[in-house]
Symmetry: C2
Subunit: 129 residues, 2 copies
DNA sequence: CTTGACCTTCCCCTATGCTGGAATGTCAAG
DNA sequence: CTTGACATTCCAGCATAGGGGAAGGTCAAG
């Protein structure tokens, strides 16, 4: 199938397919006589995998690693497990950071809600921040 | 004081000061005869405010709004309170999203940790994702 | 007189994952 | 024969908050 059909089948755009090929996530597509890219079902499988990886918050670079391992014939499962572990740790760190920020902002907001704007110190930009 | 001293006093870089001026967060600096920027203590106050705002996760655009209100003579406290409320809501949404992602990734990771790589289905890129 | 530490403007680069558009080619249908 | 829907390549941009470095001006000290 041609690029438009493949993109539609994978629920993405032709731009994205060319972009992935350029980034090495998809192998260079076969070309028909007129230079059009030609895709098979394996490309769709690959695109779906990429989408699942994205949904799990993996970067294209990480997904590319997995695909490269797969393409070299080795089972990437162990690597995937490690990536997932790292992703889990990253997410926990991000969540902790955001939660701390949230608490700080909540404190500011509480003060701001309780205060009277008339009390605002003209020497500060804003007393609440 | 000149830009280098001001930057050091505010704990930032000269690049950042010029950048903020360009973005309207700092008023165009006075210039001495040789064209050098000249700063007073109010600039430091402003820079410190910007830093507090950044630490609260506000964007430069939002901080700019506050400063503009302040420069027009009105007390920006009410606006600050609203910005903080919005920021709080944003943070809660982000945290919820990350937490959901974290759970999904944890599920994948659990499966990956339990499985045997030998079971990997050759027809899939990786059975664990 | 020169060196070194400042300062100026200017433009490009970073990371991420695409998206838009221009200029051009291909091909089946009416 | 032309129109329209495809396809190709390549270049540019988004949004964020600056950083890097070039080419050059200024000024005090040695």
């Amino acid at each position: 199938m041609r690029i438009g059909e493949a993109a539609a089948a994978a629920g993405t755009s032709t731009k994205t397919l060319r972009f992935y090929e350029d980034r090495g996530l998809l192998p260079p597509a076969e070309r028909t006589g007129n230079g059009y890219r030609e895709y098979g079902n394996d490309a769709i499988t690959r695109l779906e995998f990429i989408r699942r990886g994205r949904a799990a918050g993996l970067t294209l670079a990480q997904i590319g690693e997995i695909l490269t391992l797969r393409d070299r014939g080795s089972a990437p499962c162990t690597h995937v497990r490690d990536l997932l572990a790292g992703q889990l740790a990253d997410l926990d760190a991000q969540i902790a950071e955001l939660a701390a920020l949230r608490d700080a902002v909540a404190g500011f907001h509480h003060t701001a809600s309780a205060g009277d704007p008339a009390d605002c110190d003209p020497n500060r930009i804003c007393s609440y921040l």
